[in-house]
């Protein structure tokens, strides 16, 4: 799965957790989940769990703590997909 496809899928994961749908439409790898999308930190674990289901991967603790920027999320998801391929 290429980075563009991962990003498209990731938007679906983030939809329930942000009010800022306009910003979500235009997210880039530099978009910050909390500062830019105004996602409450209490939802970060939900996002990890939903991403695990969406991509059929397991995200470990060490990876989870890096998932603040969209680019980091894509890096981690891409790594996990490659590991499970």
């Amino acid at each position: 799965m290429d980075r563009t496809t991962i990003l498209t899928e990731l938007k679906k994961v983030l939809v329930p957790y942000t009010e800022n749908k306009t910003m979500l439409d235009g997210i880039t790898e530099e978009t910050d989940l909390i500062k830019d999308l105004k996602i409450n930190s209490a939802n970060l674990v939900d996002i990890i769990i939903d991403a695990e289901s969406q991509y059929n991967i397991e995200i470990d603790f060490d990876s989870a703590e890096k998932m603040y920027l969209i680019g980091n999320c894509i890096d981690i998801i891409s790594d996990k997909l490659n590991q499970s391929a």
Partner: protein, 231 residues
């Protein structure tokens, strides 16, 4: 350098079933914290609320420590709740402003460890929310902490209401307050354009907002309000 940190969780926005799933709570709780729940006698604290109480304590500690260590990344399982005591009156020294007039002044309390840092926390639970404040001193002297409900719960409203709530509390001491965000992301307050050396923390979730700040009121009064609070 002094700091402060607080957090609030709106329980109606949490998913009880999901919270109780291992793959969810193990992203928040360390092994020792999972065992701690069995050791602490808190029959009034269901496991899902225990998870969110510890989350709020960890998030509060992160906010406190981030001000001192800007490069810190929030990793819930690395901020360890070492002890937790059932509600008691040890929190009476916290200047809590709670919107619920029935507040009994009883708080959960305990210690938090991150690397070489030890912090103390006070947490309050209600049917609707769980809130926590942390400090480096067990006495919580000079710590002010407030929680209230709001009606409009868009993210923008939550943020604005939290700032108003805090400013309202500080207004007796300062007459021209406004907020900025530091480059790291924590709030900084200014009075008459000068940055104040008063650490503040705000939190919001759903229909609840909260604040904490550190203010040596005795010093403020003894200096006849001539003390220089600018940073």
């Amino acid at each position: 350098m002094i700091s402060t940190g607080n957090d609030i969780v709106a329980l109606d926005l949490t998913d009880i079933k999901r919270t109780e799933q291992g793959r969810f709570y193990t992203q928040i709780l360390s092994n020792s914290e999972q065992k701690l729940y069995q050791q602490v006698s808190c029959p009034q604290l269901p496991f899902n609320q225990y998870v969110w109480l510890l989350w709020s304590a960890k998030e509060s500690a992160y906010k406190y420590l981030k001000r001192l260590t800007p490069e810190l990344v929030f990793s819930p399982t690395q901020i360890i709740i070492q002890s937790l005591k059932a509600p008691n009156r040890s929190g009476n020294d916290v200047n809590v402003t709670l919107w619920e007039s029935t507040c009994d002044g009883e708080f959960y309390s305990g210690t938090i460890v991150h690397l070489s840092s030890t912090l103390y926390f006070r947490s309050k639970t209600s049917a609707s929310w769980i809130a926590t404040v942390v400090d480096q001193n067990e006495s919580f002297k000079n710590i002010y902490w407030g929680v209230k409900s709001i009606t409009e719960n868009s993210v923008e409203s939550q943020s604005a209401e939290a700032r108003y709530f805090l400013i309202d509390k500080l207004r007796p001491y300062f007459n021209d307050l406004h907020f900025k965000k530091s480059l790291i992301g924590y709030p900084v307050i200014f009075n008459n354009g000068n940055e104040l050396n008063i650490p503040v923390s705000i939190a919001h979730h759903g229909n609840y907002v909260s604040y904490s700040f550190v203010l040596d009121q005795a010093k403020l009064l003894s200096d006849n309000c001539e003390v220089d609070w600018t940073a």
